[in-house]
């Protein structure tokens, strides 16, 4: 150990300095797939709204209004697809453990595909893709509940 580190430890001990954690890996053990589900549902709704939005009239004001609505919907879709992917990655890398592979052998494949669907839904306006994403996230949420139930047994 470096002298400076030893000195710091000594000072902290003498002055009763308490650690103040700014960690990424303090295991709080609190996880919830709900945020991912909500985000996936939002993406689906935005895609549906975008595809069903009636074409604007010929006037400049209507054209502008239509563009504005589309941009707002696309922004919401983009944001929630990002949130969904981020939440999935937290569940994948932090919540699920190697022992869960016994229960769910397709775990990695499913997460990988679900994360890719989040990206696909950013790029495209495709209702079938959005539905696939919702289904994939629901499947993961179901596994999460099963894993939680197995923990309590």
């Amino acid at each position: 150990m470096l002298l400076a580190q030893q000195l710091t430890r000594l000072v902290d001990k003498l002055l009763k300095v308490e650690p103040l954690y700014a960690h990424c890996d303090v295991p709080c053990g609190i996880y919830d797939p709900h945020t991912a589900q909500l985000a996936a549902k939002t993406v689906y709704t935005m895609v549906k709204k975008m595809t069903e939005l009636p074409a604007p009239g010929a006037s400049a004001a209507e054209q502008l209004g239509h563009r504005n609505t589309i941009v707002r919907m696309a922004t919401t879709k983009e944001d929630h697809a990002r949130i969904c992917k981020q939440e999935l990655l937290i569940l994948w890398t932090d919540y699920f453990k190697p022992e869960h592979l016994g229960l769910f052998p397709e775990l990695h494949e499913t997460f990988w595909k679900a994360a890719k669907l989040c990206s696909a839904n950013k790029q495209q306006v495709d209702l079938a893709k959005a539905q696939e994403m919702v289904d994939a996230v629901n499947k993961i949420a179901d596994w999460f509940q099963k894993a939680e139930a197995a923990k309590k047994k």
Binding site: T8, D12, L15, K16, V17, E18, P19, L20, Y21, A22, H23, C24, D25, V26, C28, G29, I30, Y31, T35, I90
Partner: protein, 108 residues
């Protein structure tokens, strides 16, 4: 009990504001009368962390409590993980950095 408490930052979730190893002063009486506002740096003991104290920034205030985030989201465990922090879990305001001296102090 002394109003000000010396605490040593551990981890990188508050980078670039606070670094691993920084020594900070926490004012434990800061929120006796007022409450933490969005943007402030606070120390708290979230129930989920079994007594451990964390330093985070307040990002939102709701009826359920204060939502906290690290300044470095990719390196941070925060209210996304442990939920809103209640009044009883608040430890105090991080009012200044005492060490290292070479970097500017955190503003109150």
């Amino acid at each position: 009990m002394c109003r000000y408490r010396l605490m040593r930052v551990q981890g990188a979730s508050m980078s670039p504001t606070l670094h691993d190893g920084d020594l900070v002063l926490v004012d434990t009486q800061a929120y006796r009368v007022t409450t933490p506002q969005v943007g402030e740096l606070i120390a708290a003991r979230p129930a989920a962390l079994a007594g451990k104290a964390v330093v985070k920034r307040v990002t939102a205030v709701s009826e359920a409590g204060w939502m906290l985030r690290g300044d470095n989201p990719s390196e941070s465990l925060d209210s996304r993980g442990f939920g809103p922090v209640t009044r009883e879990q608040l430890l105090g305001a991080v009012c200044c950095r005492l060490w290292p001296l070479k970097r500017p102090a955190v503003s109150c």
